[in-house]
Symmetry: C2
Subunit: 370 residues, 2 copies
């Protein structure tokens, strides 16, 4: 998608030097557009952990590229299998909740299993990583096409007024190489001339909504309004939201969704007000091995300083201010689980299905391993 | 209550110079403890509007003192009745949602109706304002005593572990002269040696939870943990919250509660997880004239800059950082309505009653005017 009229992706492999992965540094947006070069497994690990690169599909792609870079780091003294297994474990440990990361890393790892020549390994890892990259890109476009139908349908009853869409966090193109998951139907509706307006939850503590979703939407000329995370319920009570669309960091085989903390509260409000609540996701974020979200998914706990200190822009530079007393304790859970009963449907690359085991199994029968 | 071991109230009339109202400037806390002197109706109006003084009971008291100060401003050329009516209208317009303000202002106004001698007017306004002040103070203590019983009851099943209480915004002593409404039962439980722990919603956009509630609780040695407004649902899903207690800016005759934006979302999560949700309030915040909260209460819309810019402390001074792109639009609703069906009970100075017309009428039969 575009930034100031120029097309970007959120992550890509440098065409002239294939040993360099480039990312838009999401930790600097919207204050400064900086492209960061990642040249090692360590670089990839640090960028995922520090959220210079973030969003389930993108960290999947980053992990896949990381495995490719790891094949370049095999020395003549290392045991190839150990080296690759260690790299995989290390990369997966950078963030625990999103399943795309382990899925992508393991996919590249398995693709090179049995190969011994370094050159073969590297070639194979490259093509496996690129396959994931291209597939995720295509998935986002397919999600957009399926989701677009829902927005078109709602639009029919709006008499030309914009369809009001509420979203939480950033499940936009920055999180997903291009197009996004939750935003993909929105971009397609906008391109097609269907009037839309997006309520953007700021999404504390890291404010990905305030920093990234607004930035994306504005650069694509999609009308949007920033709100606090507290506001969605009030808007829904007052007929100001037609549909909620969020992304997902991990979806269980039964349709529970682990997504950015606070998603559950919006799902409750949507249910209470009879507003459709959709989750847009590529099947790479479905964890077919996990049953109940509440009991089986590890919820990442991040540094309390993300809560006690808020980062923003002042006097021409990026800086943080402390918003509470010096000695205040805080806890920082990154995600929550939205139970399937609150979800109207899952918008996937293969179509829209109910958030339940039966419909998920039917749509992705080829992926079911148990 | 105490700040660094010294007792304070959040607002008081100077004993040596009764023409000066003093407040703790809540806009500076917790970064700096500053006492502000208010000497005119204008000072009172500005302090309420700019939230140097905030919280339903305190702005009621401030409004009452404002009417008293207005009697000191009557000149020999002014029409007394017009002067006082104008002062009342002006003061009430400083913030629209809390009902205590208009209630207190009108109470002082009516107390002086018919008087013509300036000296009589001033004396009468003084005593009417002090009556409101003392009554609100006493109400908070009574609310504490009634609410304490609920916490004691929950504590019985906790095997000595702390009762986990979640609260939103600041309905503490800073908002209420002393003790607070939502916090009053907590302070009393803590004084009595009942183990309690408070989850403090930071309460965007103005972060009254992060800035004020943590500050209050820490100064009274009540264990507490700061969380984002997104977090409460996750905690409730995981058995980490035993009870929710919030304050109220306006409660309708049918038990709907207008309180800080985001309260409704927490009430939904409490309901979904079978957790008791109580609202603590003095009867001065019940609007016996209002039926349905959703249709009749004016929801204050505040400056969008409270959302786009976050105020905190950095490099030894209070400053703001912008958290979104320069041209991002935002809307800032101050309150939402929690429907009575989500409320377990109202903790009032007269006892605990259900959030419904019948029980409210029964408990406050002497106040019903229609």
């Amino acid at each position: 998608m575009k930034i100031k009229g120029k097309s970007y992706r959120s992550i890509w492999l440098d065409e002239s030097d294939r040993e360099v992965v480039k990312i838009i540094d999401q930790d600097k947006l919207p204050f400064s557009l900086e492209i960061k070069e990642l040249r090692s497994v360590d670089d990839i690990y640090n960028s995922i952990r520090d959220m210079n690169v973030r969003g389930a599909p993108v960290i999947g792609a980053a992990g896949a590229f990381g495995m490719y870079l790891s094949t370049l780091e095999i020395s003549e003294y290392s045991n190839t299998i150990d080296h690759l297994n260690n790299a995989a474990r290390y990369l997966i440990s950078s963030r625990p909740t999103a399943v795309n990361l382990s899925w992508a890393v393991n996919k590249v790892l398995h693709s090179v299993t049995g190969l011994s020549l370094h050159e073969d390994l590297t070639k194979k890892a490259y093509s496996a990583a690129m396959e994931i990259y291209d597939a995720e890109l295509k998935n986002c476009m397919e999600i957009g096409k399926h989701g677009l139908k829902i927005i078109e349908e709602i639009s029919k009853n709006k008499n030309g007024n914009p369809v009001n869409i509420l979203t939480h966090c950033n499940a936009g193109w920055l999180a997903c190489i291009d197009y996004g998951t939750a935003t993909s139907p929105i971009y397609m509706a906008n391109e097609k001339g269907i009037p839309v307006h997006v309520w953007v939850d700021e999404t504390r503590p890291r404010n990905q909504g305030a920093r990234l979703t607004t930035y994306e939407l504005e650069n694509e000329s999609v009308p949007c309004t920033l709100i606090t995370d507290n506001t969605g319920g009030h808007l829904m009570q007052n007929g100001m939201v037609d549909i909620v669309i969020t992304g997902s960091d991990r979806t269980t085989s039964t349709g529970d969704v682990a997504n950015k903390i606070g998603t559950y509260l919006k799902a409750l409000a949507a249910k209470d007000n009879g507003i459709p609540f959709y989750v847009a996701l590529p099947s790479s974020s479905i964890d077919f091995e996990t049953g109940s979200g509440k009991s089986e998914i590890v919820i990442e706990e991040r540094d309390p300083s993300e809560i006690t200190d808020v980062t923003g822009f002042a006097g021409g530079k990026i800086m943080s201010v402390r918003i509470c007393p010096d000695d205040t304790k805080a806890v920082n859970f990154g995600f929550d689980i939205t139970p399937s009963r609150l979800i109207t449907g899952l918008i996937t690359e293969k179509g829209i299905c109910g958030a339940n085991q039966e419909e998920i199994r039917k749509m992705f029968s080829e992926k079911i391993t148990r």
